[in-house]
């Protein structure tokens, strides 16, 4: 009942007292008028001309006909307007000469629908209207401000390229083109939102990628019917299969080299303006577990890091849960010296072990979250507060036992070894679930919950690809799962993305 009621209320568009903008929206759907005057009035009305300060209307005479330039001067190269458009047009004597022939600009397109022209102007194009013509010429001269290419900050490597994506998709695409010099690298673009007209670029290798998967991705992008999708983080939530799942199913990476290597393996990469990152799909569990450095390092070193990461993964998941389980339910498992040491430190602690660990875990998460949000000038305070107050003072005040501080710190430290943000969250959250299971049911609880977790992992799919493949179910692949193989033995692209060309060497 409640659910149905909620669904109804959510679907109904609420009536609001404000004036509707449907009339304006209809205007934009219309075609251009032959009369320049009418077009000028229309655009001035749409752009709220005198109010809107950075929109420019430049009228001039082209031979004997009136002409009009419309552009937004904060996002266009104004020197192009002057040197490459106005100058040749005003100087030209020959009125019969085609516009395309007299203007030295790299890309010229023509549009007739008002809405399409508006989109192009918003992208930094310059629109030229000529009296008597029912179309507009659009010259490309975008000039969006943005950052330079900087070092990657969240996925750092020691041995490997340092550059990271930035907020300009053209730069990002250029960085990928730099890595894949192939004619089959396709950069497809599509507009995914109605009002803000956000572009998404779909990158793939046309002779490798699976067509069915590609059309699946295209379809999901088309299905988004919203006014705006600003960044990839928002897009990710719009296109993923299980929005409520604790595990991520799309890889979010800020490294162009990583994105490029996925494209080369037959994956699809999505890029957007305003997002210093890319989305890689489909993603398996292993894409979150791996880091690009694993392959840049030599075989033994790379696998050593993989081993450490696996250890860290299990430590984060189980260390505090195992401590609580063993101390509360399975004391006989602990060697006598350790058992007595734990009992001695717990002698004056007022809380049960489970509460003690939960408290410290929460405190650790708080330090972490606060440390992330704190303005950098007062950043060091967090370290002092965290280390001193929570570690030292809590122990001295007999609020927590020193062993718990060790256990929680070890678990917290290990969690940083899982580099991917989403997987990091997934692991940290499951840690709390495991901790609860351990405090209620001991090791039995941990084992049961872990088994359920594995069941769940096996059941998830990302764009049709099973989450744990190629480990289970098995596919032809280079077996790059927990450990990697020698580069010379990595013969195949991953079979689970069904590439058109499976062999890569």
């Amino acid at each position: 009942m409640l659910k149905q009621f909620l669904q109804k209320t959510l679907k109904k568009i609420p009536t609001v007292p404000e004036e509707s903008s449907t009339e304006e929206i209809d205007k934009k759907q219309s075609n251009l008028n032959a009369s320049l005057k009418k077009n000028l009035d229309l655009f001035k009305e749409i752009y709220q001309y005198p109010l809107n300060t950075d929109i420019q209307f430049r009228e001039f005479l082209l031979g004997n006909r009136k002409a009009l330039l419309i552009f937004i001067d904060t996002i266009t190269k104004t020197d192009i307007v002057e040197d490459h458009i106005l100058t040749p047009l005003l100087a030209s004597e020959d009125t019969n000469k085609k516009i395309e022939d007299s203007i030295p600009v790299k890309s010229i397109i023509t549009k007739t629908v008002v809405k399409d022209i508006l989109i192009e102007i918003s992208k930094g194009y310059i629109a030229l209207f000529i009296d008597g013509e029912e179309k507009a010429y659009l010259f490309s001269a975008p000039n969006f401000e943005g950052r330079n290419i900087e070092k990657s900050e969240n996925e750092t490597v020691v041995k490997g390229p340092k550059e990271a994506f930035n907020e300009l998709s053209s730069t990002n695409i250029s960085m990928i083109r730099k890595k894949i010099k192939s004619e089959s690298l396709v950069v497809e673009s599509s507009v995914i939102s109605q009002r803000s007209n956000n572009d998404v670029y779909i990158l793939y290798l046309s002779d490798v990628v699976n067509d069915k998967m590609l059309s699946n991705v295209r379809e999901r992008l088309k299905k988004i019917e919203v006014d705006t999708v600003q960044t990839l983080g928002l897009l990710e939530q719009r296109i993923e299969e299980r929005p409520k799942s604790i595990f991520p199913t799309i890889l979010f990476t800020e490294r162009p080299d990583r994105a490029a290597s996925y494209i080369e393996d037959g994956y699809i990469v999505l890029l957007m303006d305003n997002s210093p990152a890319s989305l890689v799909l489909p993603a398996t569990f292993w894409s979150f577990y791996h880091s690009s450095e694993d392959h840049y390092l030599r075989f033994p070193y790379g696998n050593f890091t993989r081993m450490l990461r696996l250890l860290a993964l299990f430590m984060t998941l189980f260390i505090s849960a195992a401590y609580v389980a063993i101390v509360t339910y399975h004391a006989e498992m602990i060697p006598p010296d350790l058992l007595l040491a734990i009992a001695a430190t717990r002698e004056k602690v007022p809380f049960p072990a489970a509460v003690e660990v939960l408290m410290m875990e929460l405190a650790f998460e708080l330090i972490r979250e606060a440390g992330l949000r704190v303005p950098s000038p007062i950043g060091p305070t967090i370290g002092i507060v965290g280390a001193l107050i929570l570690g030292q003072a809590a122990v001295q005040a007999n609020i927590v036992s020193p062993i718990v501080v060790i256990v929680v710190a070890l678990g917290g430290l290990s969690s940083f070894a899982i580099g991917d943000l989403s997987m990091n969250f997934a692991v940290r959250m499951s840690r709390f679930l495991l901790l609860l299971a351990a405090s209620f049911f001991g090791i039995y609880g941990i084992a049961a919950l872990f088994t359920v977790g594995i069941f769940y992992l096996v059941s998830i799919k990302s764009f049709g690809v099973p989450y744990l493949s190629p480990l289970t179910p098995k596919y032809v692949s280079s077996k790059d799962t927990i450990f990697r193989r020698l580069l010379q033995n990595e013969f195949f692209r991953p079979g689970y993305v069904k590439p058109k060309d499976i062999k890569k060497q």
Partner: protein, 417 residues
């Protein structure tokens, strides 16, 4: 209308509250019994005297707010019906829930071990979930309660640590046997071999007149002075069919170690008479080289066992100043001498087991089982009955490994010239 999710969540919540883990006790809420003593009271009552040696976790802890001046242990001794109910009875005095999770040693008085009823109490130990099968069995000469009260090691002051360390050394040197609960049950139930238990006492026998060979004594006979614990462990208590029947000395315990294929031992430091000088003794290190080979012929009228024991011998003292490395003849003489001596010791001990105990502590019955097709056949053979009449030969092959770090010795005559 409930959805599947709400249903399963409420089911899970119920599971949490109904699961019955509410009897769990936090670590610091328990009193850890490290040593458990069992004494006989008298023949009339069906009760025993239980002694708990409870370890104090806070002793020696450097952690914040540690125990301060608290003693390392707490001892309580009382009459109880059995070991399980004793845990609750003890709570009249002990403040925490008594647990056997850390139980490491079981002390039994010799008097109780010799009682025919003893075995019934031992099987109580198999009932408790907390008692592990690897706890050690120690037979004390005096009452177990007296023995436990005298345990007061000066250096390894935490009791579990003391037991762990001393039993490790006792086993490594072969002075006392490895005697764990599992072995006790296994040997008793197989009804063929002798079980050897650690033998200890806190009472030093006062026989200052005669000087004992310290390598051939039982607990209480080791004479020492100084400031240390009054506890000593030496030799073994012999159990036959779950009942103690006697004790053997340290030397005999070591012999049992050497002959028993199931007992691990690295090396033994011992002393034998010097063949070249009657006044002196030769310190040697004996090492078992590879496995003991037992060849059995059990189908004969008089069954026979041939044991071959390869030994590596290192000579560590040489008071007669013989230059063994250079004199092959003397070496041969020494080898023959040691061979005779050791064989004689073995033969004496085997004879003792045959005549006095009626069966052996060497674990040979395990080996013997392989010679029978079925278990009933072996049972019909009746190891305990046939063993005393068996023809047993011990064949020792000695190999000298070296003669100490420096093999050469100067000639005494030349030195004193």
């Amino acid at each position: 209308m409930m959805t599947t999710i709400t249903k399963s969540i409420s089911l899970f919540a119920m599971l949490v509250f109904l699961s019955g883990c509410w009897d769990q006790v936090e670590l610091e809420g328990r009193a850890y019994v490290v040593g458990l003593g069992m004494d006989k009271i008298d023949d009339e009552t069906n009760q025993i005297r239980i002694t708990f040696l409870i370890s104090n976790p806070e002793f020696g802890s450097l952690a914040e707010g540690g125990g301060g001046d608290e003693p390392p242990q707490e001892i309580i001794s009382f009459v109880a019906n059995d070991m399980e109910s004793a845990k609750d009875v003890a709570n009249m005095v002990v403040a925490k829930q008594v647990t056997y999770d850390l139980l490491r040693v079981l002390f039994i008085s010799e008097e109780f071990a010799k009682d025919p009823e003893f075995i019934r109490w031992m099987y109580d130990l198999t009932k408790s979930k907390e008692i592990r099968r690897d706890i050690r069995l120690v037979v004390s000469k005096e009452k177990a309660s007296t023995f436990i009260q005298n345990i007061n090691p000066l250096l390894e002051s935490r009791p579990h640590e003391y037991f762990e360390k001393i039993f490790e050394r006792l086993n490594a040197t072969g002075i006392a046997p490895t005697s764990d609960l599992l072995k006790f049950f296994r040997i008793t139930e197989s009804d063929a071999d002798l079980f050897l238990s650690i033998y200890g006492t806190s009472l030093q026998k006062n026989n200052s007149g005669s000087v004992q060979n310290p390598l051939n004594i039982t607990a209480g006979e080791f004479q020492y002075e100084g400031m240390t614990s009054p506890i000593q462990f030496a030799g073994a208590a012999v159990f036959k069919e779950g009942k103690m029947i006697g004790t053997i000395t340290t030397r005999e315990t070591r012999l049992a170690y050497l002959l028993n294929p199931t007992l691990p031992i690295k090396d033994i430091l011992t002393a034998y008479p010097d063949p070249f000088s009657e006044d002196h003794k030769l310190a040697i290190r004996v090492e078992k080289q590879g496995k003991v080979k037992t060849k059995m012929d059990l189908k004969k009228e008089v069954p026979s066992i041939d044991v071959s024991l390869p030994l590596a011998v290192e000579v560590l003292s040489n008071h007669s100043m013989v230059d063994y490395p250079k004199e092959a003849e003397k070496r041969e003489q020494l080898k023959k001498h040691l061979d005779d001596e050791i064989t004689k010791v073995f033969e004496d001990f085997i004879k003792k087991t045959q005549e006095e105990y009626g069966t052996e502590p060497f674990g040979w019955s395990l080996e013997a089982r392989k010679h029978f097709r079925t278990l009933p056949e072996f049972e019909k053979f009746d190891w305990m009955k046939t063993y005393p009449n068996m023809d047993i030969n011990v064949d020792i092959s000695i190999r000298f490994s070296n003669f100490g770090r420096q093999g050469e010795v100067p000639k005494l005559e030349e030195l004193r010239d």
